[in-house]
């Protein structure tokens, strides 16, 4: 006898079984390029990845200041958790930068999540979930660094290398463009940057021997406007820095997995590029390997590289230079400041890439030396097959991708610093598409580690103060007009420091380590500090002695008592 089935109906969106509202106010409709250009003039919002195109991660908000920060307390907490099986179940991490527009927060999570939240209460307004293949290639965990918002849309790059535009009021898909090839080992983790009528997105996958690229997409249609490869083809400018024979260039890395900065007057994007591939086996890629480990100045109208500066030529230590290039002015000059993985703080003339100053910002540098003229002298590197070498900083760098800040009020840079070395043993391997391509065995130190938040004076490159921590500092810092520097620790504490002295003024234990980029904003005159918390990602690379630390997935938002 045939079974008479009960009608189970149609499957429903999982979000309908939650307490989300389902829609957000239309605040993003009015976010124009002009508003983003002047983002710092509306400090109640955090309109773009770094708060403004200059990358300073500074907010003039000063309601929370050195006098009252001791009273800071959680205003609300948002938690997502996980359900079912997802990629990188042991490496998901909350690395995002919350964007805030007129009381609405837009934030991405791991595994294709994007949420719109009420920035005053934490109420979920809508959610979007992109389906991520379980088997996608991820060097460094199931992470995403944030979204961009403009013209009524939310833009996000996904781990399976798509770029999405979502309706900012509903979270529904507007367009979906394939940005990279997952079969080649590409992925995407970067927070997009809106410039003019384009959304700029870089690629990930440098540990899998891809050819890094930076792309611009039309914000209305998703059509690609240009693509700029970071590794030149034979015959193109820069190709002379790669072996003439063979295909090292085709798998040379140089990915653009961290958001760039932008000078609208010069009409130049400043984008950091990643390590060459294979990371540690330089013998198969003789030469300087342009444009890996560089800052490239790119014309956003056509994607052409105007100039470059290579922080670590012929990298043998995995010293990506993706990290922020912060724009600032000094003595009438248009400059940029950059803390590199290689342990040096660089100041460049951003009109032409000329080196102005270079100085170490970490205590221990043994891989080599960079003199005052920028001349690089390698000293310790994996040279002989099977022979272990130890060097500082380790592959996570003196500073990881997580960001420094610059306060125009104190005229100091603030950087999270990691003091950790590593032992690397060259192990040549054959290149195969989508398979990790490091060319070495890597063991990051488990002992003799520490970290600090350092304040640095760009006029001389010297350290003004430091706040020392028992373990390396691995989260972005935030500077505010209240003369505060906020910095999260791997051990879960969120700290407020005096921006002029480094004195610890307040601390809150969030229960899981910090590896994200907190932001600040205000709603109805009340200032908030938004802090994504969740330990994970490539902990084996930047702090393996804390691989057993608690994971987490909470967004803490702090404010003073009403």
């Amino acid at each position: 006898m045939a079974t008479e089935y009960v009608d189970a109906g149609r499957a429903v969106n999982q979000s309908t079984l939650s307490f989300g509202v389902g829609s957000a106010p239309p605040v993003a409709r009015d976010v124009t390029y002009e508003r983003i250009l002047n983002a710092r003039s509306e400090p109640q919002n955090w309109l773009t990845y770094y708060g403004a195109y200059d990358g300073q991660r500074y907010s003039p908000l000063d309601q929370i200041n050195t006098e009252n920060v001791k009273d800071l307390r959680p205003a609300w907490v948002f938690q997502a958790g996980t359900q079912g099986l997802h990629a990188g179940p042991s490496t998901y991490s909350f690395e995002a930068t919350p964007i805030v527009v007129d009381g609405v927060m837009y934030v991405s999570g791991w595994d294709g999540w994007v949420w719109a939240l009420d920035a005053r209460t934490g109420q979920e307004l809508w959610r979007h979930k992109h389906a991520i293949p379980y088997d996608v290639s991820l060097c460094c965990g199931n992470v995403n660094r944030g979204v961009a918002v403009a013209e009524g849309k939310v833009f996000v790059a996904t781990l399976n290398a798509h770029v999405l535009a979502l309706d900012a009021e509903t979270g529904k898909l507007v367009w979906d463009t394939v940005h990279g090839d997952v079969r080649a080992g590409e992925s995407a983790t970067v927070a997009p940057l809106v410039v003019k009528n384009m959304v700029i997105v870089g690629s990930s996958g440098g540990e899998f021997g891809v050819r890094g690229h930076l792309d611009a997409y039309d914000i209305e249609t998703g059509e690609r406007v240009w693509r700029c490869y970071m590794i030149p083809k034979p015959g193109e400018p820069g190709s002379e820095t790669w072996p003439a024979e063979g295909e090292a260039w085709a798998r040379g890395g140089g990915n653009c997995w961290v958001t760039g900065t932008y000078d609208p007057e010069l009409n130049l994007l400043y984008w950091g590029t990643g390590n060459p591939a294979p990371d540690f086996d330089g013998e198969v890629r003789e030469g300087d390997n342009l444009y890996t480990d560089c800052v490239i100045a790119v014309n956003p109208d056509n994607g052409e590289i105007q100039w470059h500066y290579q922080y670590t030529p012929h990298d043998l230590w995995d010293y990506d230079s993706n990290m922020e290039n912060i724009l600032f002015e000094l003595g009438g000059r248009k400059l940029l400041g950059h803390f590199d993985k290689n342990g040096y703080f660089f100041v460049l003339d951003r009109t032409n890439g000329e080196l102005v100053r270079v100085a170490p910002f970490v205590d221990r540098i043994t891989w080599g030396e960079i003199d005052a003229d920028g001349k690089v002298t390698p000293k310790v590197y994996p040279e002989n097959e099977g022979e272990p070498v130890h060097f500082w900083p380790g592959p996570a760098g003196g500073k990881e991708w997580t960001h420094a800040a610059y306060s125009p009020k104190t005229r100091l840079f603030y950087a999270p610093v990691q003091e950790a070395g590593s032992t690397v043993t060259r192990r040549r391997r054959e290149f195969k598409e989508s398979i990790p391509y490091w060319g070495a065995g890597v063991a990051v130190d488990l002992t003799d580690l520490y970290g600090y938040v350092g304040a640095f004076d760009p006029t001389n490159g010297k350290e003004a103060w430091r706040w020392r921590n028992e373990v390396p500092m691995c989260a972005s810092v935030l500077a505010t007009g209240g003369d505060l520097v906020f910095a999260g620790a791997p051990t879960g504490e969120y700290n407020a420091l005096n921006a002029r002295t480094g004195e610890l003024l307040w601390q809150f234990q969030c229960g899981s380590g910090h590896h994200s980029s907190p932001t600040t904003y205000s709603v109805d005159g009340r200032q908030y500090i938004a802090v994504p918390v969740g330990w994970g990602a490539w902990t084996e690379g930047f702090l393996p002695s804390m691989l057993g630390a608690p994971a987490g997935d909470a967004l803490f938002v702090f404010a003073l008592p009403e």
Binding site: T3, E4, Y5, V6, D7, A8, G9, R10, A11, V12, N13, Q14, S15, L17, Q83, G84, L85, H86, R127, H128, K129, H130, A131, I132, P133, Y134, D135, V136, N160, A161, H162, K172, L173, D176, V178, H179, G180, D181, V182, R183, A184, E186, G209, V210, R211, H213, R224, Y229, K233, E247, A250, R251, E430, F431, K432, E433, S434, I435
Partner: protein, 154 residues
């Protein structure tokens, strides 16, 4: 003693790892049949998946889509117990409640190659064996691929 790769499914069966409460308490993940979704003239793909009596497993355990796109999935619970289903799909995960002997439909969109897990996210249905995979074959569009010569494959 290790087995040869081609013997794995045979040994799993012999040991009872593909059954409930035999060698282990539950059933090893995704040991079962594989089925190919069929593409209709409208370009949508269609497949069926069911939960058999007392097996706490999806049948088929692996659903293969020939390429990225839309999948219309008929879901049947032939068990004497209540389960549910959580499927991956672009936009939001798709959830379905499946009381004993019920039947429903899930509309899924998966936009790129790779494999995606689905499950019954109640109790420990996932641990007992109610986990399956949707496999999407094919490649990304030509315009999204790297501009380089063909490279060695694993």
């Amino acid at each position: 003693m290790a087995t040869a790769k081609e013997e794995l499914s045979v040994v799993v069966r012999e040991l009872g790892l593909d059954k409930q409460n035999k060698a282990t308490l539950g059933r090893l993940l995704a040991h079962g049949r594989l089925a190919h979704a069929e593409e209709g003239p409208d370009g949508r793909m269609r497949a069926q998946v069911r939960i058999a009596l007392d097996e706490l497993a999806w049948d088929p355990a692996i659903i293969v889509m020939p390429h990225a796109g839309d999948l219309e999935l008929e879901v049947i619970n032939d068990d004497d117990n209540t389960h549910c289903a959580l499927f991956p799909s672009n936009g939001d995960n798709q959830f379905m409640w499946l009381v004993n002997h019920s039947r429903g439909t899930a509309s899924l969109n998966l936009d790129g190659p790779g494999y995606y897990w689905f499950s019954s996210p109640i109790g420990n249905d996932e641990g007992r064996g109610l986990v399956g995979a949707i496999v999407v074959l094919g490649d990304v569009p030509q315009e999204a691929r790297l501009d380089r010569p063909p490279q060695p494959q694993p």
